[in-house]
Structures are given as C-alpha cells and as structure tokens.
Point group: C2
Chain length 182, copies 2
DNA sequence: CTTAAAGTAGACAGAGTGGTCTACCTCTGT
DNA sequence: ACAGAGGTAGACCACTCTGTCTACTTTAAG
C-alpha cells in the first residue's frame, strides 16, 4: 500500500517499455490508479520520478546480478555466471526482470543526453558500480586492471547487440570470448 | 539549396544532440529557417523525417568508417584502424562527425523501442551492415565467424562505455583486446 | 471520538505538439 | 512574358503535456 513504491514500479515499467518522453504522467497515473495530487506529493516533478525509477532499477539489477555471481565460486566462475545470467535476462527467463527491452540506463541516457544531467550521471554511476564488481572478480581470477575493462566492454556489447540487433545469443557469444580471455 | 537535405541535416543535428521526442518540429524549422509547408511537402510526418535522418546518418557513418578501414591494408590492419577511428570520433577529431553523443542508432532505438517498428528495423540494418564489413575483414585476417561477432561486441561496448560511462579511452582499450584476439 | 495526515477525482491553466491551410512570393524554362 | 512549381510566413486546429488546485473522503493514532 506504499503509494510511492507503486508509482515508481509502474512508472519504471512504462518508461522502460516505451521510453520516458513517450509516456506521460497521466498514463502512469491511469495505470497505477493513483491520484495526481499523490504523485506530486511524493515527487517534485516528472524528472524526480524518473530519477526514482533509475534508482529503483539500479538496486533491482545489482541485487539480481550480484546475487547470481555470488551464488557460485568467486573469480572466473562468477564472471562466467554473470554472462549466463545476461543470457537468461535476454531470453525472458528472469522472474524479477521479465520482458527485455535493452539496458534501462543506456535508454535513459539517450533521452537525457547531456552528460552533466543528474539523471545521466546516475546512469554512469550504475555502470561504474557494475565495473567495480567486475574488477573485484577479475582480480580474484588473477587478471589485471585492463581485463576488467574488457569484460565490461563485452557486457555492454552483448546488451546492445541483443536489443538493437535482436541477437538474443549475444551473451553466450560474449561468454565464449570471456572464457578465452581469462 | 536543396531544402530537403538541409532539413535532414538540421533535424539530425538536433535529434542526435537532444533526442527525437525532446525536439519538436518547430525547433527544426526555426533552426533551419525553412517553412513548415516545405517540410510537409517533403515528408509525410515527423516520423518520416526521423527515418530520413537515420538513413542520412547510416550513409555518413559507413562512408566514414569504411573509408578509414579501406585506407590501410585489408584484414587485421583494417580492423585495428577501425578502432583508431572510433577513438578519433569519441574525442572529437573527426571533421564530418563533430560532437560525440553516443551512437545515433542506439539512441533512436531506445525511443522507438518496439523491435518491429520500421525505424528500429532501420537501426538494426545499420548494425547488420557494419557487422558484414567486420566479418569480411575478419575472414581476410584469417579469423572465423565467431571472431567477427566478438569484434562487433567490442565496438558496441566501446561506444556505450564512452557515452554512458564517459570513458573516452574505451576505443583504445577495446583495440588492445582486439590485438590479442587476432 | 477527534484530529490530522494522506489519498481521491478531476477541472483547470499555460505552454507546446504535429499537422493543415491560405495567401503571397520567387524563381526557372519555354 | 508568363505559367507553374516550389518556396515563405504564420494563423489555426485539435490535442497532449506537466503541474496546480479545490473539495471531498479515507485512514490511523492518541
């Protein structure tokens, strides 16, 4: 019954599926059955709501991905598992993240294109956090600094190829390269 | 004095910098100093204009990238040169493509998120064309099918890391990995 | 039971949207 | 010289957008 939470989740669903600009505040309201006054009671503006959806997704995504990685042995197995997780995501096998529509952070960055915009910054921080986790595991796997960057590169590449190019096998392809790499 | 061309170029500039939804038709008209009637004389709708900007960028991008690749020896050198070209692009050293704001095709795909949408399809076709060129060079370099996919993965990853993460060295990092790969 | 906070429904304002249309102007080829 | 294509300026239409506000209702705590 937490209205704020309901709003964020519904807004995220719509923004992720159709884009931020394409979805009006009224649609979010209609779909969630919440009054406009309530929304503006919790958020100063649509932009504040967007920021909240980014935080929400960041938390959800990290919890999911890191959870998968931590469920196996640290180091190379964790990294390999991360790409298995991506493959599950692309192909709709992740319950908490059904319907793959690309990376929310990339999509949102495209709409808030100014690098200095707080929302773009939030997206950059998300990527940074993921990179940090990768780096940690790469070190445990005996790789050096630059390898961590390469792994991150593969992750972004796989997401883009799956979404823009429609190649749902891209995570597995990236994983094969990762296997050689480590 | 070709009004259509002027419209497409100006529209591209604005859409690329600020996003398609964020830029109204009137802004395109104001900036280009062209009358609304003229626009609708050439294009049936805003969407048709967007489609034209995608074609325009596709042609420009391919001409530029393939030009750079063809200027050196075929095979591995061409692929290495492609990533040098990306580095130049990210860092604003390409005259025909000043101001790096990520990949137009990724950005537009995010706004026209339905995979079946003709504009999304156009973006997918662009990626496909690039992949084809990469494949051709990979074969000449003695690599197999899967390597071409890996190279494309690196390219997309580099663009995303440069744009969303703000890492302007990402092309060079990808290039280092490519060097090992071939 | 009372009171105060939080929610609801929805009218409304002001700006902006894509797109149409009229009326006029300026080239260019014959 | 003149017809016709293609340009310009901008009013206008119907609609949508974010955000505000009023008036009423529900909920929960002391």
């Amino acid at each position: 019954m937490d209205k704020r939470e309901q709003l964020v989740e519904q807004a995220f669903r719509l923004f992720y599926r159709q884009g931020v600009y394409a979805v009006g505040i009224n649609k979010v309201l209609d779909e969630s059955g919440i009054a406009k006054k309530t929304l503006y009671n919790h958020f100063a503006s649509k932009e504040a709501l967007v920021a909240a959806t980014v935080s929400y997704r960041d938390s959800l995504f990290r919890q999911w991905l890191f959870g998968r990685m931590d469920a196996v042995a640290a180091g190379k197995p964790a990294l390999m598992e991360a790409f298995m997780a991506l493959d599950d995501w692309f192909n709709g096998r992740v319950a908490v993240m059904p319907e793959f529509h690309g990376c929310y952070f990339i999509n949102v960055s495209a709409e808030f294109s100014d690098l200095k915009h707080p929302i773009h910054q939030q997206c950059a921080e998300h990527k940074q956090a993921i990179l940090e986790k990768i780096r940690e595991q790469v070190v445990l796997a005996g790789g050096d600094e630059s390898v961590a960057n390469h792994v991150a590169l593969l992750k972004e590449g796989a997401i883009v190829q799956a979404y823009v190019g429609g190649d749902l096998q891209s995570a597995l392809k990236a994983r094969r390269l990762l296997d050689q790499l480590l």
